[in-house]
Subunit: 554 residues, 2 copies
Amino acid sequence: MEQLNIVVIGGVAAGASFAARARRLNEAARITVIERGPDVSFANCGLPYHIGGEIADRGALAVQSAASLKALLNLEVRVGTEAVAIDRAGKRVELRDLASGRHEWLPYDKLMLAPGASPLRPPLPGIDDPRIFTLRNLQDMDRIVAATSAGKRAVVIGAGFIGLEMAEQLRHKGLAVELVELQPQVLPPLDAPMAALIDSELRRHGIGLHLGEGIARFEPAAGSLRCHLASGRALDADIVILAIGVRPDSELARAAGLDLGPRGHIVVDGFQRSSDPDIYAAGDAVETADRVGGGRTAVPMGGPANRQGRVAADHIFLADKARPYPGSLGTGILRVFETVAGLTGWSEKRLVAAGRPYQTVTVNDSHHAGYYPGARPMTLKILWEPDSGRLLGAQVSGFEGIDKRLDVLATAITAGMTVEDLCHLELAYAPPFGAAKDIVNLAGFAACNRRDGLVSHTTDLPDDPRVQVVDVRGAALAEAYPVPVPSVNIPFPTLRANLDRLDRDRPVVTVCAFGKMSYFAARVLAQHGFAVQSFSGGLKANVDPRTPGKLPSP
Amino acid sequence: MEQLNIVVIGGVAAGASFAARARRLNEAARITVIERGPDVSFANCGLPYHIGGEIADRGALAVQSAASLKALLNLEVRVGTEAVAIDRAGKRVELRDLASGRHEWLPYDKLMLAPGASPLRPPLPGIDDPRIFTLRNLQDMDRIVAATSAGKRAVVIGAGFIGLEMAEQLRHKGLAVELVELQPQVLPPLDAPMAALIDSELRRHGIGLHLGEGIARFEPAAGSLRCHLASGRALDADIVILAIGVRPDSELARAAGLDLGPRGHIVVDGFQRSSDPDIYAAGDAVETADRVGGGRTAVPMGGPANRQGRVAADHIFLADKARPYPGSLGTGILRVFETVAGLTGWSEKRLVAAGRPYQTVTVNDSHHAGYYPGARPMTLKILWEPDSGRLLGAQVSGFEGIDKRLDVLATAITAGMTVEDLCHLELAYAPPFGAAKDIVNLAGFAACNRRDGLVSHTTDLPDDPRVQVVDVRGAALAEAYPVPVPSVNIPFPTLRANLDRLDRDRPVVTVCAFGKMSYFAARVLAQHGFAVQSFSGGLKANVDPRTPGKLPSP
Ligand SMILES: Cc1cc2nc3c(=O)[nH]c(=O)nc-3n(C[C@H](O)[C@H](O)[C@H](O)COP(=O)(O)OP(=O)(O)OC[C@H]3O[C@@H](n4cnc5c(N)ncnc54)[C@H](O)[C@@H]3O)c2cc1C
Ligand SMILES: Cc1cc2nc3c(=O)[nH]c(=O)nc-3n(C[C@H](O)[C@H](O)[C@H](O)COP(=O)(O)OP(=O)(O)OC[C@H]3O[C@@H](n4cnc5c(N)ncnc54)[C@H](O)[C@@H]3O)c2cc1C
Ligand SMILES: CC(C)(COP(=O)(O)OP(=O)(O)OC[C@H]1O[C@@H](n2cnc3c(N)ncnc32)[C@H](O)[C@@H]1OP(=O)(O)O)[C@@H](O)C(=O)NCCC(=O)NCCS
Ligand SMILES: CC(C)(COP(=O)(O)OP(=O)(O)OC[C@H]1O[C@@H](n2cnc3c(N)ncnc32)[C@H](O)[C@@H]1OP(=O)(O)O)[C@@H](O)C(=O)NCCC(=O)NCCS
């Protein structure tokens, strides 16, 4: 066997997966993994849960060690060692041993860059206060663990995935938590209505939300760190978690003259090759093909990182059997206390910003058959290309089974399926799981009904007094959870007999809790000559995610 | 609006869904639903769970009533009325009122046949004993509820989906349960190894299994009904549940001269039209396209029934916008106490029986990231077409997240995806859900490794003494759960240093718990010139589904 000399910079997700796959493909290669930190192969994604105490055993987060990677995969792992320069002409990397400060050059035949990304730390006044933390590795985690205990006050800045996990876990641990987010909603990757359940759950657990608020500066005050918001408000904290995003750690690549994308990501081809054919790159530091939009994207997530690393190893060792990385979708999921929300593909706001045509429906249903105990409500929004019906994205929120629907829709989007195809997915159904018509099927039905012109949708409650808003819920529910605009209550079962209560010359919007009865009502009214729109997704998906579908029977 | 006269025979899943959709598409039609039983629109699938007490409220099973279908959908529902003949030339149906015995003729423009299927009741000696029950509707259920109580002895005949649900629920209720199955395994739609966890769970709960055993006759004995098995053994029962399958209720269709398939199912086209263009049929009574195999199949499940009913209504009212029913996959799932198993598409035994070429791999992993508390093991088997790599089927067993993987794979099969496509499904990952490489990705990797010639697989432990069986698990585990054939234990981390313990001239089979380390070992050995096969799926998927992957650390 030819003995290839392989050097890997970064030893966590993309780097370790690359090295592991390379070893399985080739026993003879010399594979050296260079890692700046003291650990390799740790579970970054688990860090918040050790802070909160859910993952009690810190050791569980160290998936492998330098020693175990040697034993299992015969990898030379050098922790505490930083790569400081790449000499592309000489095909060697300059290393600095962080303990001794010693430099040396390591030659390579093939180099893998898997340096990941670093948390953003904007140059605000006071930003260097030791009470301000970011979270990327075990050492960051240990520092936060040491600084947190029940009763302390935390300010979390950034309400994306990591910020929300931290807010939940700190609250779980008994801290008082205030959450600051520049966007006017939590979980900005999602469309606002689909994040509303998470918003409500955070508030229910006493987390203070400061939305549409930027952080301006930090100021030490008596016994606390004062966080000044752009609006002029101030929050006092014992500890601040900064979780406003990451930027690719691509300085080494930039200095070596490799092509970078507009936001500093390393540009790679389908086989993860950078602009230098002997240098590969993978993980949070790269940009990749957008599987939905066709352009370029960067998805800093564990799955893409691991699988990109594997693709690069295949390209080196499998010759023409190697298959390219097909691009990323942007699938993400989050649990906050009892609630869960996530997305796959493009959101509505992203489609709007890109000026791409789309259509959308939102449906509500139970996560399994309603007659089986424990059914919890869930909301599903899908987006598709108007001409072809091809799916562009999906968002789901609720309590149980959210991951399942996201995964089905991620698979459907990957396959290029249309909304028609969703109608007839034959998903697993027994009472404890799913339903004879799963919410994914219902979304397909609702989308086709819209495409076929059976129903017109609105997601805005009209403020035009000419429009008749007809609330078709039962009277008790309509009274207990009123529609927030003037409306007439005609429970659906009585609608056909009460058509004369409505003015045929004025447009109608039908409203219910879920968007189902309002659709039924819209069909009745349309066939009787009314100009009618159904309030798609109902009050639950547009007004208040905790609106009940039915009042409990007395 | 033209007033079409629509008659529906059978008012539960396919019939009620057809009628509901027809009404939404057309307010003017006269829609009459004829139902022999006293109920319409009830949840057949929930019946076992009311018997067992999990669904405490019997009323929850009555999803709709004649009155609510009138109020919501303006349907004329006639319960207690049997359709006894179809006069195709005269386009009318003969009805018999079961209470009064009166006959009448009802004219139709379009007729929907949704009569479902009946439990098989073979003409065995003693079969008419009142202690022998089948389960199809609420009345059957009420009779079983009345006949069961803790301490009684039940014999369940048939270990398919319904038989196993009944066995579990009766045991849950405190009965002693014996289960008799003609096939040599429980859950015959699955390949035997994938049903082994269910088997083990039934035994763990004290249910007696009599596999490969037919029932020969029933005989009243002192204080019990004696069930004689073909083997000569006998079981004494207070109650017998017969759940050996169903046959389509297609007598009416046969008498009317409609085309029937080889097993008596009504033959329909893609729009659910029978051989008479004014008569549609849907649900358990019909055969349909096989979405995997391309031929004809019959899948007596709730999802297909509901969606086929909807397709027929579309064909009547949506003209050229109607879309055909694309066929059935055969997705099914079952929970038995803590364990869950299911399938989608074709099993290995079905492929073998049909003489169709296939390849398969089985992988094991945790249902979510192993470092997050509560990770449970699961096993996934996939089958694909050798040339194209196109997926043909999948089976999953374990504890949690089984439904999710089945649904992803049902979607992938429907889309015509290949095993290559599974590698890069971007599924939702945060620690409480999934993993950076989900088991679905791993199955794709393992399949590609096999296709690419990186590893050879076996699912049989060799009995040829020439073959060296190398157990690469840790020594403690190897000792506690020994490989059931002679083997040498070389823990994987020590393998590279111990190659000289193996004879290079004799073939090797590597073995571990999960099939992962045995794959790693096979890669090492293959590259050192050994003729080696990995025991795919490991001891867990082939020998004992409860074999631990690791011993708990002391
Ligand atoms: C708190 C947290 C929670 C997360 N949760 C999720 C989640 O739930 N789901 C999900 O999919 N993803 C999650 N992620 C993201 C996921 O962890 C990353 O996408 C993934 O780790 C990226 O892998 P990578 O190999 O590209 O980079 P990293 O895992 O960051 O590894 C890069 C390594 O390279 C080292 N390095 C960088 N430069 C050098 C150099 N010059 N010399 C030597 N070493 C160097 C760094 O020290 C680092 O250890 C989370 C991340 C964090 C921080
Ligand atoms: C105990 C049990 C558990 C099940 N569990 C599941 C499950 O977990 N998942 C799943 O997908 N499926 C399950 N099923 C199967 C599912 O219920 C059926 O596939 C579905 O109900 C079939 O719908 P259908 O409309 O074709 O027939 P049915 O629901 O059987 O309805 C047919 C109706 O037609 C009536 N009828 C027949 N002939 C006449 C006539 N001549 N005149 C008047 N009326 C007539 C019958 O009385 C019957 O009510 C289960 C079934 C049972 C019995
Ligand atoms: C620990 C680490 C180095 C492991 O890398 P790895 O060995 O490639 O990954 P896994 O342990 O998942 O094993 C996957 C390999 O085993 C194979 N495998 C897994 N289960 C198998 C089974 N039951 N049967 C056969 N093969 C199996 C896979 O096919 C794959 O091999 P391949 O790539 O040669 O096809 C790497 O995943 C890592 O560092 N992870 C932690 C860091 C991280 O991912 N952080 C971000 C998320 S928290
Ligand atoms: C009760 C029954 C008659 C209901 O039929 P149905 O009205 O077609 O079914 P659902 O109540 O699920 O409603 C589905 C309709 O509402 C629409 N819908 C559901 N949720 C919606 C939402 N949130 N927004 C918009 N539309 C929605 C669907 O698009 C569909 O309408 P369409 O067919 O016109 O497109 C029928 O399902 C039945 O009898 N079920 C019990 C029997 C049974 O299925 N047994 C076997 C399994 S246990």
